[in-house]
Symmetry: C2
Subunit: 223 residues, 2 copies
C-alpha cells in the first residue's frame, strides 16, 4: 500500500485569491500550523532539501508535506519514506497553486496537529510568484547551475520570498562563473529583507543556518 494519497485539485471558485489566502492564513494560525510555500525552477533541489530538512527537524516538530506537480508521484513517494505525513497534489496541468487549491491539499493532508507543513509548489519561477497560497512564509531555492543572473530575469519571485536558499553550492567548482556575492547583492537589491543562505542539500553544507531560520520562524509564529 502507498504511504501517501494522490489528489487532483480543482480550479478555484474564488475570484479574489488574496482575500482567500488571508482566510486560509487565519485558519492555519488558529490551529497553530506554520505553512511554508517552497518554490523554485524545475530541478533546483526542492525535494532533496526537504528530505534533509525533515531529518533535522522531525524529532522536534510534527511535520507534513504537500507535493504539487503537473504529473508523477515521485516526490511524495520520496518524502513518505522519511516517515512524515505526505500527499501528492496533481494540478491538472496548472502551473501554480492558489489559496483554494492549497486548502484542498490541507484538508486531505489533515494538519490540525501538525506544527510545520511544507507546500512544495510546481517548479516554475514565474506563475507561483503571482498567487498567494495562504502560506505563513515563502521560501525559494535558486540552484548554482541556473546562474547568478536569475534575480534580474525573474524579479517578482525574489521580491515575494522571505528566505532564498542558494543550493548546490557543492558544484561551484564546475560553475565557476557563479558569483556568490553578486547573486546576494542582486537579491537584496530587489528585497532588502530577504535572508540569503548558501547551502548544499547533497552535502549538508550551510544547513545549520537554514534549520535555525525554520526554528526561529516557527517559534516567533507561536509566540
Amino acid at each position: 500500500m502507498k504511504e501517501y494519497k494522490v489528489i487532483e485539485v480543482k480550479r478555484s471558485i474564488f475570484e479574489d485569491n488574496n482575500a482567500d489566502a488571508d482566510r486560509l492564513r487565519q485558519e492555519l494560525r488558529e490551529q497553530k500550523t506554520f505553512l511554508l510555500n517552497l518554490m523554485s525552477s524545475p530541478g533546483a533541489g526542492k525535494t532533496t532539501t526537504l528530505k534533509r530538512t525533515i531529518e533535522a527537524l522531525k524529532g522536534e516538530m510534527k511535520i507534513g508535506v504537500m507535493e504539487a506537480d503537473i504529473d508523477s508521484e515521485v516526490d511524495a513517494a520520496a518524502i513518505a519514506k522519511t516517515g512524515v505525513r505526505a500527499i501528492q497534489i496533481h494540478t491538472g496541468g496548472m502551473c501554480h497553486l492558489d489559496a483554494d487549491m492549497t486548502r484542498q491539499g490541507i484538508k486531505e493532508l489533515g494538519t490540525k496537529e501538525l506544527d510545520f507543513v511544507v507546500l512544495e509548489n510546481v517548479g516554475n519561477l514565474v506563475c507561483p510568484a503571482e498567487f498567494d497560497t495562504g502560506s505563513t512564509k515563502n521560501a525559494m531555492i535558486l540552484s548554482v547551475p541556473e546562474g547568478d543572473d536569475k534575480p534580474l530575469k525573474y524579479p517578482l519571485m525574489f521580491t515575494i520570498c522571505d528566505v532564498v536558499l542558494v543550493n548546490k553550492c557543492d558544484t561551484l567548482c564546475v560553475f565557476d562563473d557563479f558569483d556568490k556575492d553578486r547573486v546576494k547583492e542582486r537579491i537584496l537589491d530587489l528585497n532588502p529583507k530577504a535572508e540569503v543562505i548558501f547551502v548544499s542539500a547533497k552535502t549538508g553544507e550551510g544547513f545549520d543556518g537554514w534549520i535555525e531560520w525554520i526554528r526561529r520562524s516557527v517559534k516567533e509564529y507561536n509566540s
Copy 2:
C-alpha cells in the same frame, strides 16, 4: 547605442491561438523563414547554446534572435555581440509567448530576408508548452543538473518538442545520479519521434549533431 531593440508585447486579442499560430506559420513559410521556438527551465543554457549555434551557422544562413523575458536585457545584449540581428521582448509578467506576441516580435525584428529565426521563450517548463507560437519546430533544453526525472513531471513539454538537447553534459562528473539512457528512454516513451541530442554548450561536446539537425531541418523546410 544599443545594438538591439527592447519591446513590450501586448496581450493577444485573438481567442483562438491555435488558428492564429497556423496563420503565422503560413506567413513565415511564404517568406521562407524557419522559426525555432526554444524552451527550457530558467538557467538550462538557452542563451549559451544559442551563442555557440550562431557562431557555427552565421556564415551559411541569415539568422535573427528574439529573446523573451519577464524583465532584463542581458540575453539580447549577449546575442547582439555575436553580430546577428536581435531584439529583447518583455512579456509584461506573462509566463509564455503565444502566436500573436510572437508576431509582434517578428514584426519588430524584421525577418523577411532571414533564413533562421530563434525565439528564446520565457524560462518555464509548464506554460510555454501550452501555447503554439506559430514556430516551424519546437526545441527544448533539459540540463543535467535538473535531473533525469523531469520528463515524468513535465510531460507536455517533452511531448510537443521535435528535438530535446540534454545540455551541461560536461557536469555529469558532479551529477553522477543523472542517467543518460534513462532520460532518453523517458523522453522517447512520451514522444517516440523526438530527437535527443546530448551536448555541452560550454565545451561544444555534441554540437555537431545539433548543428546538423538545424541544417537538415532548414533544408527540408525550403525544399
